[in-house]
């Protein structure tokens, strides 16, 4: 260790804070000027920590399940009544769906319709919260030789979750549909009117920019629109709800507060990415 005289050491100690504050400003400028470097640093750290977070998933999931179990037991009666009613309703729908499926198959045969290939998907586990105070995102732990690309679309078992914005070696970040920077072109299913679903960092994104005369109706189903080439048409998103102030919002099908596994779909689209994703989406690997 280098021995310094006491006054010099004191002077250095007093200087270190201002110097580091100046360095913090420098870091800010660097992060602003070279967004790719900042992104690489973040994904490097996420890659490093992803195995630790994955290992922690098991105990965390156990604790959460125990809490859920208690909640289930508490609500058993009400839940049972609700499920009975829902089952009754779904049975009627199942009959309708089977009839429609048969009719659809017949019509497709008559039109010699070429069906779209089922998109490839891979499943990934949510290992960490990838958002801060002002962002809503999750980090996925993925295997080393994954085919995950920027711009892929994440869905949970119910509906749209978000899009992949950053990809590392062992982790990927998904910007959730509720994030403030998320803008998703959607279609209101009953009126076929287009609109934009704008994230607010709250649980329910807002609807904006619908055409005049076809305002969103409470209870209307919302699906994605293929406009701008960022999403395929018709992915389930949510249901229109009115906020207390009367503004139309979307209650998402996906349960973003308890995500544990998401499916990443590769539709081969290269549309607009969120503003902080600076680099263009990588081209789809050739098969």
């Amino acid at each position: 260790m280098i021995r310094l005289s006491i006054p010099l050491r004191q002077a250095l100690a007093r200087l270190s804070l201002p110097v580091l504050i100046a360095l913090a400003f420098g870091t800010m400028l660097l992060g602003k000027a070279d967004a790719v470097l900042a992104e690489r640093a973040r994904m490097g750290l996420a890659d490093l920590l992803a195995p630790i977070w994955s290992a922690l998933q098991q105990p965390v999931a156990t604790i959460r399940e125990a809490g859920q179990e208690a909640e289930f037991l508490f609500n058993l009666r009400a839940e049972n009544a609700r499920l009975r009613e829902e089952n009754e309703r779904l049975r009627r729908w199942q009959a309708t769906a089977l009839a429609l499926e048969a009719e659809n198959a017949m019509l497709q045969r008559q039109l010699s319709f070429v069906p779209e290939a089922a998109p490839a998907f891979q499943t990934a586990r949510v290992v960490a919260d990838g958002g801060g105070i002002y962002a809503r995102a999750v980090l996925l732990g993925i295997g080393p030789n994954h085919g995950v690309r920027k711009g892929q679309i994440a869905l949970d078992e119910r509906g749209l979750v978000g899009r992949v914005t950053e990809v590392g070696l062992r982790s990927a970040r998904v910007l959730l549909a509720t994030d403030m920077n998320s803008r998703i072109p959607v279609v209101l299913e009953s009126s076929r009117a287009r609109a934009m679903m704008v994230g607010t960092n709250g649980a329910r994104p807002r609807l904006q920019h619908w055409p005049e005369g076809s305002a969103p109706v409470e209870g209307d189903r919302v699906v994605t629109s293929a406009e701008a080439g960022a999403f395929p048409a018709g992915l389930p998103v949510g249901i229109v709800r009115r906020s207390e102030g009367g503004a139309p919002e979307v209650e998402l099908f996906a349960r973003l507060d308890r995500l544990d596994v998401v499916r990443l779909f590769d539709y081969g689209l290269a549309g607009i990415l969120p503003p902080e994703a600076v680099t263009r989406p990588e081209p789809r690997p050739r098969r």
Partner: protein, 177 residues
């Protein structure tokens, strides 16, 4: 004849001292990494970092040199995908101010320190908000910042209780011959 102290003991003692000096920073970093595990509470990473920084800055400033604060801030920024440098600056300013006030703060009751902490957290959230607005060049809502202040103010008593137990144990180990 005076015997020299055994070298192994000296080495052990040195390791002990180094471990004790690195403990506050290491524990804070570990808590931040653990806080990133999704638990249904967004924004837990910065809410965990601030109480630790303030506590060590008041009661054991020697264990939290400015470079360590810088590193912890950078870790927080990278973990929470905030603009790089905003958390660094916030934590450095907080650590600097609290270290300056520590003489008066360390003698206060727990409740007074907690109240002071709430003020510090409010100031830190305001600074963070301004930095995010300037760096991202878009107006952000105030509500998440206030939620952040309440979250970290609520976490402070629990964390401070655990940390003060550790601080006492470390002081005992230091005063032991």
């Amino acid at each position: 004849m005076k015997g020299r102290p055994a070298p192994a003991t000296g080495l052990l003692r040195q390791i002990d001292a180094v471990a004790r000096a690195a403990f506050p920073t290491g524990l804070t970093a570990l808590l931040m990494v653990l806080a990133a595990v999704p638990a249904g509470l967004p924004g837990l990473v910065p809410a965990v970092a601030l109480p630790c920084i303030v506590f060590w800055a008041i009661f054991r400033p020697a264990a939290l040199p400015p470079p360590a604060v810088f590193a912890l801030g950078l870790l927080g920024d990278l973990l929470s995908f905030a603009p790089v440098g905003s958390g660094v600056l916030t934590l450095l300013v907080v650590a600097g101010l609290v270290t300056r006030w520590r003489r008066s703060l360390a003698q206060q009751s727990f409740l007074a320190v907690w109240l002071a902490y709430c003020g510090v957290a409010l100031g830190a959230a305001a600074l963070e908000w301004v930095l995010q607005v300037v760096l991202g060049w878009q107006l952000l809502p105030l509500a998440p910042g206030l939620y952040q202040v309440m979250l970290s103010a609520g976490l402070y008593p629990g964390l401070a209780w655990v940390l003060s137990r550790m601080h006492e144990a470390m002081s005992r180990a230091e005063s032991a011959p």
